[in-house]
Amino acid sequence: MKFDAAYFDGNSSHIYQVTAEINHGSILLYHDTELVIWDVNKIIFEESYFNKHNTVLKYGEKFPYASLELTNEAFQGCLLKLNPQLKIKNTDIKFFQSLSNKSIVGIAAACVAFILLSYFVLIPALAELIATQVPPSYESELGENIYYQISEEFEIDEEKTQAANDFFNELNIKSNYPIQITVVNSPIKNAFALPGGHIVVYDEILQSMNSEEEFAALLCHEYSHVNLKHTTRSLFRSLGTYMVISLVLSDINGIMGVVIENAHNVKSLSYTRSLEEEADYNGLKLMLDAGINPQGMVNLFKHLKEPNEGSLEIPEFLSTHPLLDERIKNIEKKYKSKAIRFQKNEKLAEIWKRL
């Protein structure tokens, strides 16, 4: 059989219109009066990317190669008959070109579903699993490092720090972590916990409290953050979800990037809120176990509600801590549903006086 083809000699861009004839182990290329003979065993097949009937062959010992281009449905079959070992591989773009709008939408929807599933379910579950496997000693080391770096700016109140630690020990909470409370002088009403056991309490928040129950509530809440590995969990979670996002973003342009990142921020905010809630409930449980009046936690939040000078009330949708009213309501609901007994703990009251 004969085929019309374009031949390039590898030395110049000149097109030689040739007739290719497959014949006894070789391809004969006729151009006017000239003849080029290709040994079929030395032919290299180039993968075609726009039409599976388009064939591109390379020929030669080494670079630069001569090449032959032709479009004929029967040619590849003839070639294979001649040399069955020839590797013919076509990426059939026709298949992609023939996709109907319906199947494109279907495939796209399936991909989106897969991404959403990994983002909302698979990755968070995996991250939680990994986070729970992190040994407390590693968390302590991490917390120690962070504490070391931030403590330089602290003005530590040694006496109150001692009293606060005594207070915590009096609560008799069993812990996997070496809890170390530090009281610092600062005009901000705040307290926070680091992974591995450091709890930092600002003096201003102590001043706003009226009873030892409130302080117990605060410690129970912060301690819950530590014991439930909240920092570690959110660290792994953001690492995991960030991986999904960057995978998605690498194929989407800038506008979508901004949209997705903002959506992600709102979502991680809500995760932080769910951790706060978890710490509230766990803290409440600890208080009840220690026989302390849970009203302390409600009072604590009521004090926190009193405006810090100049501070703005943040809408709940955007705030890390769910609005305090909401939290008070949730806690009251939780403990009022149970019949509980508690008594005044004299020892705690004693220590509280030192604070």
């Binding site: 000699d9 030395n11 861009s13 000149h14 591109v56 990426t91 989407i252 342009n253 979508m256």
Partner: protein, 319 residues
């Protein structure tokens, strides 16, 4: 026989958004499933398709790079970056002040060197793997020259508070484009830093004054400055390329692209890509006198894809 016409010619893109979508979605899924390892093969597929659908004078381009080649480059690039970080962190945590300083300086040096190294490696690889009618492209730049030029440009750009950036960009373009070969064809870039600075200042302030409306003229000017300053050199004769797109065309292109992306939540990305490619090809007119029929093969083979993969990791865009 080939007809030699004097009508200006341009590259033609025959691909479709649907086909590109199919390729990208398969690439994407395989990349996710293999945790990124498929990436080099995905890239080879994408490039092969885009090149094969690009046509000049009725012949298509070919990308000869393979996933295997790029995988080797990918591994080398990752290895290099991990090694750099390892040295850096070892020095930082050694607790010895001198080592910390050395580690820090080492990191800064490597950080600045990675850019030109990646650009050089990528060009050498990408160009040598590109052909048209069996004639291969090539990049003849010398690594050391590019590094010196890059570091000098970066330094001057920083100390002149970015004023020098225009000259830096033009120097880079002149060097890179001047070292690209397409067989016996060479190229020249004639843009000057001063002109670029004036263009950008004018574009910036007028866009500000017109609340962004002028930005389409500015974008047109930037395209013209890039494309019109490229000359094709054949047998010591220079041929022009001219960008013909108007601010109106650019506005329509951007607007539709934007709407497509927003209303399909990004799924129309391949169609947008095809629209952009077509827009640039169709508006870049090559001098009709430029004869493509007797270009001679001149370049050598080159198979190391490390630079190309590194460039992707650094997220730099050169061409």
């Amino acid at each position: 026989m080939e007809l030699i016409t004097k009508e200006p010619k341009s590259l033609k893109f025959n691909g479709s958004g649907g086909a590109l979508f199919g390729i990208l979605i398969v690439n994407f899924l395989l990349t996710v499933i293999t945790l990124g390892i498929y990436y080099p093969w995905a890239k080879a597929k994408r490039l092969k398709y885009l090149y094969a659908e690009t046509e000049l004078d009725n012949s298509r381009f070919t990308f000869h790079g393979t996933g295997n080649e790029m995988f080797k480059g990918f591994i080398k690039a990752i290895g290099l970056i991990i090694a750099v970080y390892a040295v850096f962190f070892l020095c930082m945590f050694s607790g010895i002040m001198a080592l910390r300083i050395i580690g820090f300086l080492f990191f800064i040096c490597v950080f600045f060197l990675l850019g030109p190294l990646a650009i050089h490696g990528s060009l050498k690889y990408r160009m040598s793997r590109t052909s048209w009618r069996s004639i291969h492209f090539g990049y003849r730049g010398i690594r050391k020259e590019l590094i010196i030029m890059y570091l000098k440009g970066l330094f001057l750009t920083i100390i002149t508070l970015y004023i020098y950036l225009a000259w830096f960009v033009c120097d880079l373009r002149r060097y890179i484009i001047g070292n690209i070969r397409f067989g016996s064809i060479s190229f020249r870039y004639e843009g000057k830093g001063g002109d670029m600075l004036v263009m950008n200042l004018k574009g910036f302030f007028l866009s500000l004054l017109t609340l962004g409306i002028y930005s389409f003229w500015w974008f047109r000017d930037m395209m013209k400055f890039y494309i019109d300053n490229i000359k094709i050199i054949k047998n010591e004769q220079a041929y022009n390329i001219q960008f013909k797109g108007t601010p109106g065309d650019i506005f329509i292109l951007f607007l539709l692209n934007y709407l497509l992306i927003i209303f399909t939540l990004g799924i129309a990305f391949p169609w947008v890509m095809v629209r952009n490619i077509k827009f640039i090809y169709e508006n870049s007119m090559i001098d009709g006198e430029f004869d493509t029929s007797n270009i001679q093969q001149t370049e050598e083979d080159y198979k190391d894809a490390t630079g190309d993969d590194m460039l992707d990791m650094l997220d730099l865009n050169i061409i």
